[in-house]
C-alpha cells in the first residue's frame, strides 16, 4: 500500500493541476490592419481545389510580400469537426473556403470567428455582392461572421429513361404538385422501372433534413426558415403538409427506409434525386437527366418556388494574425472575375445578385445550369441561431421517428420537437 502511495499522490496532483488549468487565459488582440503571409483551407472537392490553387497563384503573382498558402481541409469525420478542433487549438487558418452556415453559430460562440463588419466597408461589400439574400447570413448580433460565397440550390433531378419506361413524359414530367409527384412515383414503382421513385438518405445525421424535408418546406411556405424570430416555424399547416407528403412516400414504399450504400441515382436504382448543380457534372452524359423545382401542394409556378441553398461560405478565423491581407484575399477570391472562374470550374453558383446577367456567356454556353442559376435567386438558408446543430438533430430525430419509421404520429412529433427547439434557440 505504502509503495503505491507516492506515485498515486503524484498522479492525483498532476491530474488536479492539469484539470485546474482548463480555462483559457487572456488573449492578445489581433490587429485588423496587419499584413503578411496567410494560410487558407479549401474543400477537398477536386474542382474547388483546382479553382482555389489558381486563385491563390493569381494573388501570389501580384503580392510577393503577402503570400497565400492553400491547403485542403485536413481529413476528419466532418469538416466542421476539424475546424472546431482547429479553433480550440488556435491553429485555424485565416480563411476557410468551406464554412457551413449551420456551424457558424457554434464557431462564433467558441470565439473562433472574426466579424467581417470590422473591416472598412465589410458589410457593404457583402450586401452589394449578394443582395438581399445576404440578410440570411447575418448573426443574431447583427454582424457578418461569414461571407456568403456559393450555393448549390437543390432541385429534383430525374432520369428520363426511367420515366419513359414508366410511361411518364420525360420532357414535361408531372411533378409540380404533391398529388402529381406521388402518382408519378407510384407509376415508377409499380412499373418496375426503378427500385425506388426517390431515395433520400433515411438516416439520422442532423444534416439529412436539408435534402428531404427542408427544400419542400421552403417551397411550401414561400421561403420560411426552420426557425424564425426565436420560434420553430414547421409546426404549422405547411409543415404538416410537407411531413405528410414524405410520410406517404415512405408508407407506400416509394422511397426505401434503408440507406443505399452507393449512388442510388447514378446506379439507376432511383428515378429521382434531390441535388444541386454539382450533379450536372457528376452525371453528365452517363444519364439522360432533367431537372425541375421541388413540388408544392398546389403546384406553384416554377418562378415562385424557393428551395434550400446548400451554401458554403468563407469565414475569417480569429487565429489569423494578418487580417488585413486575409480581408483583401477574401475580396479578391469573391470578385466578379474569380466568381466567374469558380462557376466555370465547378458549376456551383456564386452567391452573387444578378448571377445570370453577370455571366451571360457562361449560361449561353451551358444552358443546363441556367435552371439552377434561376433557382439560386430564390434560396433559403439554415437559420443562424444558437445551438443550430442541436436544433437540426432534434428535428431530424422527430422526423425519422415519425415520418420515416412511423413510430409516432407526425403532427405530435413535429409539435414536440418545435417546443424543444423553441427552448434551444432561447439558450445561449
Amino acid at each position: 500500500m505504502r509503495r503505491t502511495a507516492v506515485p498515486a499522490a503524484l498522479l492525483i496532483v498532476a491530474v488536479g493541476l492539469a484539470a485546474g488549468c482548463g480555462s483559457g487565459g487572456g488573449a492578445a488582440r489581433k490587429t485588423d490592419s496587419a499584413r503578411g503571409p496567410i494560410k487558407v483551407w479549401l474543400s477537398n472537392n477536386k474542382e474547388e481545389v483546382t479553382w482555389g490553387k489558381a486563385m491563390v497563384a493569381a494573388w501570389n503573382n501580384q503580392h510577393a510580400d503577402q503570400q497565400v498558402t492553400a491547403e485542403e481541409i485536413p481529413a476528419g469525420k466532418t469538416s466542421e469537426e476539424v475546424i472546431g478542433a482547429a479553433i480550440s487549438a488556435g491553429n485555424a487558418p485565416c480563411l476557410i473556403f468551406n464554412t457551413a452556415p449551420a456551424a457558424v453559430p457554434q464557431f462564433q460562440k467558441q470565439g473562433g470567428l472574426v466579424a467581417l463588419d470590422s473591416f472598412p466597408g465589410g458589410a457593404d461589400y457583402i450586401k452589394q455582392r449578394t443582395g438581399q439574400t445576404a440578410d440570411q447570413y447575418r448573426s443574431p448580433d447583427g454582424k457578418y461572421y461569414q461571407l456568403p460565397w456559393k450555393s448549390n440550390p437543390v432541385m429534383i433531378f430525374y432520369n428520363k429513361e426511367i420515366f419513359t419506361k414508366a410511361g411518364l413524359d420525360p420532357e414535361n414530367p408531372p411533378l409540380a404538385t404533391y398529388d402529381q409527384f406521388l402518382a408519378a412515383a407510384r407509376r415508377i414503382k409499380s412499373s418496375g422501372a426503378a427500385t425506388a421513385a426517390i431515395y433520400p438518405a433515411p438516416t439520422s445525421e442532423f444534416f439529412q433534413s436539408w435534402f428531404d424535408f427542408y427544400p419542400l418546406f421552403a417551397a411550401e411556405t414561400g421561403g420560411k426558415q426552420l426557425v424564425s424570430g426565436g420560434k420553430a416555424q414547421f409546426d404549422t399547416a405547411e409543415g404538416q403538409r410537407v411531413a405528410q407528403f414524405w410520410k406517404t412516400v415512405y408508407d407506400e414504399g416509394l422511397a426505401p427506409k434503408e440507406k443505399y450504400n452507393g449512388d442510388s441515382f447514378g446506379e439507376g436504382k432511383s428515378a429521382m434525386a434531390i441535388v444541386g448543380p454539382w450533379a450536372i457534372a457528376a452525371y453528365g452524359d452517363k444519364i439522360k437527366w432533367g431537372a425541375v423545382p421541388v413540388p408544392t401542394s398546389t403546384g406553384k409556378p416554377a418562378g415562385e418556388i424557393k428551395t434550400f441553398s446548400d451554401a458554403k461560405n468563407v469565414a475569417m478565423y480569429s487565429a489569423c494574425g494578418n487580417r488585413a491581407t486575409a480581408w483583401d484575399v477574401l475580396k479578391f477570391a469573391t470578385s466578379k472575375e474569380q466568381d466567374g472562374a469558380l462557376l466555370q470550374a465547378t458549376g456551383q453558383m456564386p452567391l452573387r445578385a444578378g448571377l445570370v446577367a453577370t455571366y451571360p456567356d457562361y449560361f449561353a454556353k451551358n444552358p443546363a445550369y441556367k435552371g439552377f442559376a434561376d433557382q439560386a435567386a430564390r434560396t433559403v438558408e439554415v437559420p443562424n441561431v444558437p445551438n443550430s446543430i442541436e436544433v437540426w438533430q432534434t428535428f431530424r430525430d422527430a422526423y425519422t421517428g415519425s415520418v420515416i419509421f412511423g413510430k409516432n404520429p407526425a403532427p405530435d412529433a413535429l409539435k414536440q420537437s418545435a417546443e424543444k427547439i423553441d427552448k434551444l434557440v432561447g439558450q445561449p
Binding site: R2, R3, V6, P7, L10, L11, A14, V15, G16, A18, A19, G20, G22, S23, G24, G25, G26, A27, A28, T78, E80, E81, G84, I87, S88, A89, G90, A92, Q106, K109, Q110, G111, G112, A201, P202, T203, S204, E205, F206, P256, K257, E258, K259, N261, S318, A319, N387, I389, E390, Q393, D397, T400, G401, I404, F405, K407
Partner: protein
Amino acid sequence: MPATLLPGGPIRATRDRVTALLGRHPVGLALVAPYAAFIALVFAYPFGLSVWMSFHEYFFTAPGAQVDRPFVGLRNYSAVLSDPGVRQAFGNIVVFLLINVPLTVVLALLLATALNRAVRARMFLRVAYYVPYVTASVSVVGVWLFLFSSGGLVNKALGPLAPDPSWLVNEHLAMPVIAVFVAWKQLGFFILLYLAALQNVPRELYESAAMDGASRWDSFRSVTVPAVRPATTLVVILATITGANLFTEPYLLTGGGGPNGASTSPVLLMYQRGVEQGHPDVAAAIGVLLVIGVVLVSLLNRWLLERD
C-alpha cells in the same frame, strides 16, 4: 530514551523515513515514472478534466477567449438523466452487452478449445479468426452491409423468412446484429487469450478425467471451464469495457444510431453532443456515468466469476 543516543539512530531514522516515502528500491520509481507519466497524461488528465467539465458549464473555445465556466453542480447530470435519448442509449448498450459478452465468451472458449486440439491447418485457422480483429472496422462494416441490407445475401438466402423491416432498419434487430458483428470481429483476440490460458491447463487433469470415464463434453465442462476461469474473468471484463465504448458500428452500420435511435450508443451520443453540437459538458456527464456503469458491471462480473 532520546533517539540520538542509539548507535546509528539519526541515520537509521532518516533511512526509515526515505524508505517509507520512496520504498526499499527508489530506482523502481524512476523505472515506472515514464509509464506513470503516460497514464497521467493520456488517461488520468483527460478523465480528471472530464469530471471537472461535467460539473461546469463548459464549451471549447479559441485560445484567449474570455468565457465564464461557472460551477453548475449536478445540472449536466440532471439534463442527461432526464433526456429520453440518453436513457435509450444506455438501454441499447445493456442489450448489446447482454448479447455480445456471453456470445463472445462461449464462442471464444469453444473455438479456442477446438483450435488447441486441431492438428491440421491450426495456424491457418488461428490467422483466419484473427484477421477480422486487425482489419479496420470501416472496411468490415462494408461487408456486413452487403450481407444484412434489405437486398443483401442473408435476406436472399432467407427468402420469405427475411425480416420486415430488414435487419439494420428493424428496431428490434439492429442492436442484436451489431452485437453479433462485434463479437465476430473481436473473436480472434479473445481466442488468443483463451489459447494462452489453455496452454497452462495440466494434461494430467484431462488424463484423470478420462480414467474416470469422462466424455469430451464432461472433460470440457469439469476441467477446461474451471481451469480457464481467470481468463474468462479477463475476457468478460475486456468485452464489457470495449462493448460499452461502442461507436463505429452504430455510426456506420446503422447510419448514426438508427433506426430511430434503436442502435444509438452512449459514446455515439457523446460524439454528437460534445463534438457536433458543442456541449462537451453534457458529453462529459454521459462519459462519467458510463465509466461508473462499466466499473460497477466489471466489479459485479469479477465477483460472480471469481467467487468459490
